[in-house]
Amino acid sequence: MRRIMLAVMMALLFAAAADAAPILKEQSRLAFVSRQMGVPVEGGFKRFDAEIDFDPKDTKKSRASITIYIDSIDAGSEEASTEIKRRPWFDAKNHPKAEFVSTSLVPLGAGRYRVSGNMTIKGRTRPASSEFVVRDRGAFRVFEGKFILKRLDFAVGEGAWSDTGTVADEIEVSYLLSVHFQGAKK
């Protein structure tokens, strides 16, 4: 009896795990644009993991989580990439990861959705939300969206760097996350 129970539990567990698809790293990207003295500067993260459990028919059951490795940041120049890992910015030594965990997904129609959740950067957790669009491209399902993140909400850029006249508070984050897709679920 216990064996059967265990087998059933295992099967359920695997079924649940199969739904949460890890992203395809080669087909995904995470970028941002900061403004320095009014100049847009592009940057991005080379390493991040994400799991997306997306069911357009059941948005309540859908969820996503993203882990970003701060060390992999490109802040637009070597000088900036070195600086941004330091204590006043991301403090990468003490906070090597940033994280987003979804709490709700709202369909907006025409393939658009709004995801809300909790963002944790530099040990600070704040609510965050973003609109995105879902497209099915052959073997891939692609999630693409952007949102404005206020760096000072997470104490990213402390002391002299908190001056928003030099580096603006608003950072435009954009993402393109791809997962394997085997046609619509019946």
Partner: protein, 190 residues
């Protein structure tokens, strides 16, 4: 009536327009400030101050570029007055050549700085408001080459500015003519 006449004596005849004098000194102040700033900011540790100074330096460069265009346009309608008639021919030719080179560098130094900035991945946004399109994309190797070009052009510019100032002082204190005085806005004798 064109005021440009060749002076028969050591006294140069004709004046610069007040506009030309103003544009000249505005350029002088900005060029020298930008050069000093350029040398100073380069060695600063990465900080908000450094970001600010780099922007100011770029805005100065764009301003010098624009001033040079305005001056060339103004000059084509209001020719510069003649040099003193007693200047040896080679000196007159050297003066004309140096002035031509100064104009060329007023344009070349900012242009080199602008493409260098683009190659580093930083667009130039004039006064933090007006974005100047990037002529070239981000390219690290090209950026390093352009850094040398901008540096070499700037050093040549500084050397030429010093020569220019030394020549003006020589005219004033040794030749005792009015070449410097008329660029200070004093009217020459009729």
């Amino acid at each position: 009536m064109n005021k440009q006449r060749k002076g028969a004596t050591g006294y140069a005849i004709g004046n610069y327009t007040l506009t030309a004098v103003t544009l000249h000194w505005a350029t002088a102040v900005i060029v020298i400030s930008a050069a000093v700033l350029g040398i100073y900011m380069h060695e600063l540790p990465f900080s908000p101050t450094k970001l600010r100074l780099y922007s100011y330096h770029k805005w100065m460069g764009v301003t010098v570029f624009l001033l040079a265009l305005v001056r060339l346009a103004w000059r084509s309608f209001h020719p510069a007055p003649a040099l003193p008639g007693n200047m040896p021919l080679w000196e007159q030719q050297a003066a004309k050549g140096a002035h031509g080179a100064l104009y060329a560098l007023m344009i070349a130094v900012p242009v080199a700085g602008w493409v260098m900035s683009s190659a580093h991945g930083f667009q130039t946004v004039y006064l933090g408001i007006l974005p100047i399109p990037d002529f070239i994309g981000k390219d690290k190797e090209l950026a390093e080459v352009l850094e040398k070009v901008h540096g070499a052009f700037s050093l040549s510019f500084m050397a030429l500015v010093m020569l220019h100032a030394a020549a003006a002082l020589k005219h004033h204190f040794i030749n005792r003519d009015n070449v410097l005085r008329r660029m200070l806005g004093f009217r020459s004798l009729p």
